[in-house]
Structures are given as C-alpha cells and as structure tokens.
Symmetry: C2
DNA sequence: ACTCAATATGGTAAGGATACCATGTTAAGC
DNA sequence: GCTTAACATGGTATCCTTACCATATTGAGT
C-alpha cells in the first residue's frame, strides 16, 4: 500500500501538497493538482485513516454491543444502527455478548482501545460496571433496549413493563386466570420489567396470588425448560406469557411435545415479533417493538452527542410498543372439573 | 483519555518502561512494574490501538460486506464470522450493500482506508471490479456465498446449481411438469446458478422447453411480483421454485392473495431456510445452506491467509447443502381439463 | 519601480506506541 | 578487586497524516 510520500515523490511535490489535493484545502496550482491526481490513481493510493484518526482523535467508527445478532429483534436493531451510521459516514463494529458480563467487559475494553467514537450498548446486566467503564474513559455511549436503573445515561428503549401489562390485560380479558410468566435472567432489566408488568396487571384484578414467574435465559432451551416446569403446576396454567421470542419458541415446542394445542389448550403471548419479512401467516400474539427505530434513533442520538459534546441532560427515548393480537391467544377452555 | 506518557510521568519512569510492562517484554524490576501497574489503574489507562496499528500495520479488524444483515441467512453467516473472528481477537465491521455496486465500492474504499486486515465479501455483482480493487491494494479477502467466475480467489459457498437441481428433481419426482423459477438479479451469481440448476434438471427429463425463469430481486416485493406474473402463464405452473427465502415469502403472499393453497394448488420450494431457532412448525421445503459454517470457515480461511501471507493457491471451499422436504411441496392435482 | 496581497509550496512537529540501540546498575565468577 | 553477563531503564526514530509556520512567486495597484 502506497503512502502519501510515494504519491508526492511520483508527482514531484511534497506530501503536504498531496494532502492539500486530497482534502481540497489551501491553494493548489491547477497543473499540480492534475499531476497529483494522476499519481494517486496511478498508485491506487488510499489515505491511511489510522494516521488521520490518530491526529484528529476521531475514528468515524461506532460499536454495537448486543447479546446476539441472531435474535431477529437485534438483527433489525443492527440494521437500523448501520443505516443511520453509514448515512453519516460512520462504520459499525458489532459484538455478541450472549448476555455474558465477562464477554461484554472484554469487548468494551477492545473497543475503547480501538478508539471507537461511541458505543451502542445492550447491557448484559443491570449493574453499572460497563457504564462506569465507558464513562471514566469518556467514551460516549447510548444504552439501548434496556434501562439501567438509577443512572443518568442516554437510553433508547420500549416500555417493557407497559408492554407486558398490555399482553396480560389481553389475556385477562379473554378470561384467563392462571397465567405463567416465562422470563429471562432476573438481572436483565427487560426480564425483570416484563415480569413487573405481568404482576401489575394481575394485581389490578386482585390476582396477585396467582402469579407464577419463572426466570431463566432468553433462549429457546430455557423457554422449553421453563414451559415444561410450568406445565406441572396445578392448576395448570391456561396461558403462557413469554418474555421474548426465543422463550416463546421454546415454550411452543414444549407444548407441541406435550400435545397441547395452541391456543385451544394453552394460549401463548410474547414480546418481540419475528421479523415481518419472514411472516407469511403470522400466528403469535405479540407486543411488537419498533426494532429498526430503536437502532436508528439510538444511533442518531449518539451521533448528536459526538458532534455536540457539551450537550445537556441525558435523554431517555421511550418508543411505543404495539399489541398485535393473533391466533395464539384465545379464551380458555372450560374446565372439565 | 490518558496516554502512555501520562502513565510514565505518574509512575516516574519512561514511556518505554510502561510499554514493557503492558506487553510483558524485556526486563522490568518488580517494584517498577508494581508502580506502573498502579499508575495504569489509577488513570484507567487503555493503550491506543490506533498508534499500535499504525506501527504494526495490523488492525485486528475484519470487514464483513453483505447485502443485508436482515436476511436470516446472512444473519447467521454474520454470527459465524463474528464468533470465529473474536476467538482470534479480531473485531468485525459489518456493511449492508443491498446489492448495490456503488454502495459496495464506497464501503470497500472506506474499509481499505481504515486498514482492515481482511474483507469477507458477498459481491453485489459478478463483475470483478471489487475484487480487483482489493487485490490492487493487497487487502486479503474471501468471497462468500457467491462464486466469481474466471477469477482465482478464495471462496466459500454452497453449490447453488446442485442445490437447485435437487429441489427441481424433488418436484419432478412428485410429478410436476410446469415449474416456474423465481430468481434474483441475473448478474448475481447465485441467482444465475440456481436457474442453471433448474434448467439442468428439466433438461435431463426432456422438459427444457417448459422452463420459465424470471429474474428480479432477492426481495419479498420482487418475489411477490414475479409470482403474480408467473400465475398468468398458461398453462399455470403447478410449482414455484424460489431462489431465496425472501422471494419465497413474496410468492407465498401472492398465492395467499390469489386464494391458491400451498401445496394443494401450487407447490413452493426454495433456497435458504428460516433460522432453525425461529421454527416451531416449519412448512417450507427447502435446500438448507449451512450459513453459520460458511461464515465460520470463510473467516478461518481469511485469518489463515493473514498469518501466512505466502500461502499458496486460492482455495474454494464448497459446503454441502441439505434438501429438507416439508409440507409446501406435494404431488400436483390432476388437471380438470 | 515598489508594495502588498494572493497564490503556491515545503519543512517541522505532533498524535501514541514501540523497535532498536545505548547506557547504567547489579551480582556472579574467578 | 575486576571482568562479564544478566538485569533495568531511557532516548530516538518511525508508522502516516496534517496543522502551523515559513518561504517563494506572481500579479495587481499606485
């Protein structure tokens, strides 16, 4: 790879002159410019962004730290992020933490070393460690998807508590009274919030005592296991509330295995849709989160912070969820007791 | 952000000594090391990878240039890439070209400026422009998912032609004789290859004349439009072969709109599954590509190249596809002619 | 003919880290 | 007590680019 010096030599000028041509700054004689441009294309010269970044302390690179790109919700978030970033000439490094705090910490360390201009973070844990790490090193960041309680940071997410509340409301209106919640890790804010919404909806109807909430992982396996466990309850639940799509898929598998038709035997509702693109004949009743918008707006917010460091109060952007009632939820069958 | 100089000053040593502590190289007095480590943690010092990269000409960063992270197939590829990369301490920048050659060129330019150590490329077009660009600048790369004909480059992909052949074979065995192919852009190698496999299977049974292949985009919209068009054929096809999952979804929507049940009225087969994780009750007959493995192996290959530049012949890794027969394909109904 | 501004180009240092060479100290070996 | 090797640390140049300052040339204005 050739450098600005090579170009300069070939064009018979100084590196500074080449630099001026590249950046269109200062005075350049027409002919000189032509000669330099000729040399550039002859050598296929591409300026070294590392050297530039070193000087300007700007890498035009953001980092997206999510739990798993494979989760369709985060896939869409990622696309929103990349679109918003590339619009402004920023690149995006993506990282999968799989909800591991250690992995997250390791990634953040590398990212800070690489001098990313900002981080979009889905915290693997509600503790403020990662946040503190970034803050100490003055790396701008936005937390997305999850709240971090008791900290003043920029956040973009949906109201998980309220979304869960809506789903449970819906089930209650259908007549369900035994609803089991299958959630993710208790330490993950969304998992906790969604159970909180579940509890609130039950409590409002005086059904607080009927609440049964399981915490596990946001994975298919975990959803499967929790569903199995919930099926042993007596009385058996008439509905499952899954805290995300993976859990829902696991639960559906467990139900199929147990020969319990949905929604006839048990209703299933969940957070997070499959991507619309993949749905020919959607089945699950869900609370849909505007994943693309979350990614996009978080990135916008982050880029705003970069261009205007001084800026103000932390902002919390809460995007609306949407309850989509489909065929996986129905009135409970009458008991044959 | 503090620098190695700050640490040196605080610890009362030279930057070189700090460097030695960080990299565990050369001789360091125990006490000195302790003082330096103390200073490092006191300042929250993180070494600047830009400066290092500038010296070593190594950024420990790869780029993944795909058409759309939102396509579940590429999502999984991306996960395979990131896993393999992070195992070796590499970060991954991802880019969505949406099959646009201009976007691709622009991305590659930026990536080269940023001195990525290597590129994993899904070429938006079968032309060798992008390849040539990277090669001239001596940026190692691996082409994935698609072949580039007549060029000696590292490639990792499935045999699209053969996969399509298998799907059509399956339809032929079921008794279909009017099969329409709905494909992507003719200039995209996979789109062309899949149609080629389709043609070969038909030709082998002396049905070459019945071939009807439409080229469009690898999108839901395009799949929808092509399906609509194909439905107007006379005689009407008894089966659709979609060249990817998006096209299949579009086709299925068109069929639903036309009140044509699948597979009773028309069978539908396609390339690329929905991710297994999202399937509770999978429906489509597909040729499955090992997306994760493609990403993983391509990255391995690329990293091998990095550590051993001298290396040899370009390699072409062709991974096996898997025909999965499900409910979207069945024997054609008898004509009421 | 002379001044002054506009035009045109180059040299140097800095950004942060480290390879390489140089120097200084300590302790072992005879 | 003196040589020699191991130990310990520092200075300088370099990776590539560009901000800043310096210098040189041209041409307009009087």
């Amino acid at each position: 790879m050739s450098t600005i010096h090579d170009v300069a030599k070939l064009a018979g000028v100084s590196p500074m002159t080449v630099s001026r041509v590249i950046n269109n700054s200062g005075y350049i004689h027409k002919e000189t410019r032509a000669r330099v441009e000729q040399a550039i294309s002859e050598l296929g010269y591409v300026p070294n962004a590392l050297a530039r970044s070193l000087r300007f302390k700007q890498t035009h690179t953001l980092a997206l730290v999510i739990t798993d790109i494979t989760n369709p919700y985060f896939t869409t978030v990622a696309r929103g992020v990349e679109d918003a970033a590339s619009e402004q000439g920023f690149s995006v490094i993506f990282c999968n933490t799989d909800e591991s705090r250690d992995d997250e910490a390791e990634y953040l360390n590398v990212l800070v070393q690489k001098q990313v201009d900002g981080v979009l973070l889905v915290p693997a844990h509600s503790s403020p460690d990662s946040i503190a790490f970034l803050r100490e090193r003055e790396v701008p960041f936005v937390v997305l998807d999850r709240r971090i309680p008791g900290t003043q940071v920029d956040m973009v997410h949906c109201d998980s508590e309220q979304g869960a509340y809506q789903l449970i409301q819906h089930l209650l209106e259908l007549g369900h009274r035994q609803i089991a919640a299958l959630s993710g890790p208790e330490a993950v804010m969304t998992a906790a919030d969604r159970v909180a919404g579940y509890r609130r909806a039950l409590a409002e109807r005086g059904l607080a005592d009927s609440a049964v909430a399981y915490f596990g992982e946001f994975t298919i396996d975990s959803g499967y296991r929790l569903a199995k466990r919930a099926l042993k309850l007596s009385p058996q639940p008439t509905a499952f509330f899954a805290a995300n799509n993976f859990i829902a898929v696991g639960a559906l598998r467990a139900l199929r295995e147990a020969n319990l038709p949905v929604p006839e035997a048990i209703s299933v509702v969940t957070f997070d849709d499959l991507p619309e693109s993949m749905l020919v004949d959607p089945f699950l009743t869900v609370v849909r989160q505007p994943a693309y918008e979350i990614g996009r707006q978080a990135t916008r917010l982050l880029l705003d912070r970069l261009s205007d460091k001084a800026a103000a109060e932390p902002r919390e952007i809460i995007l609306p969820t949407q309850l989509i009632i489909r065929r996986s939820s129905a009135a409970p069958q009458l008991k044959e007791t």
